[in-house]
Amino acid sequence: MKRRDFIKATGTVTLAAGVYLTVLKPSPVNAKEEKDWLNGYDWNKHYWGFGIDSTKCIGCGSCVRACKEENDVPKDPYHFRCWVERYAHLKGEEKPKVDSPNGGYNSFPDKYKKEEVLKAFFVPKLCNQCAVPPCVQVCPVGATYQTKDGVVLVDNDYCIGCRYCISACPFGARYMNDEAGCADKCTWCYHRITKGLEPACVLACPVGARIFGDLKDENSEINKFIEEHKIITLKPDLGCEAKVAYVGIDSEVR
């Protein structure tokens, strides 16, 4: 390569890079813009947390019914943002029996009448809002994202319905909403919590098995819950840092 060519090439590349950076550089976020998108809500002041006390859960299904109404989830027995599972250790069996008839929507039938139950408990499930969410990582179009206050949301209009996120979720928290033509999941009722309300399932729970609050607020319910109990999160080995804090569940619960 001659010196002239080299200078020409360098010049062209510099020019192209200059055009790219000046014309296409993402505009820096200014205060006005942030306020416009967030309707006046300041997401830097909060970091939401969720706790579940499995020892209190009675499996009545109030949370499931409230969630389906609040979030327009299809009322068939296959789509849930929030559901309840029953784990039962029967005498003479090595592994627990797990069932969740209609997600617990109509409570649970007593189907272990004839067997001797050694230990049984309910486990309410919902999206764990992972700190390192695999569903966000796999989305090819950027239709699912994590907010600064720690919630993973789905952009319904931008989702192309490829279902990568559904297969990527280790907790089965996502489902395909065929009515809306997009993937959907629990958002901890983001439209409620940003207005200072509790999520629908927390409000509906008759026994206080669900605890919700702001981890950045020292006196919040969720901080008290985490301080007072020995908690575990689901599948810590995966490294996706699930955030729902459980009390009173066995290691079989996944």
């Binding site: 790219y20 409230a66 609040e70 049984a120 994202y145 958002t187």
Partner: protein, 158 residues
Amino acid sequence: MSFTGRLLLIALICVVAYIVVKYATEPPSFNVYGHYRAANLSKQLSKETKFIGKETCQTCHEQEYNDLCSTEPSSAHRDLQCGACHGLGVARPKEGVILSHGCKIPPDVTKQCMYCHEMLPSKPKDMPQITLKGENAHFPGMTCTICHTNTHKPAYYK
């Protein structure tokens, strides 16, 4: 044109094509906060809230609210929200007045009670539980409210 020149031309075309495609296809609010449309946040936040707390119900249903939250004698249902039994009310106040909502008296009271009070081995032991079938059946075939008349302030029938 020299070999290098042609290479550079191809590279330039690629860059220009990338810029054009990016401009033509990328939504305006993309990449404001991250790899997503910031405009969607606005939509998420403005979604309508439906489930209302019992404090809202109190404004019209004063007597029921007082029964539910009574402390002497203590109501076992004092921690419940109205919606837990009456369904989700979508109350949209117009000028401070709620004209209609979706709540209803449970059509099958016994079924509603049994959502929580059905005897199951997986329930906490301190939860009052009954069964309507088998040997230890608790007045099978009867409606709960015949004895437990005030479901807002339930007490054991004596």
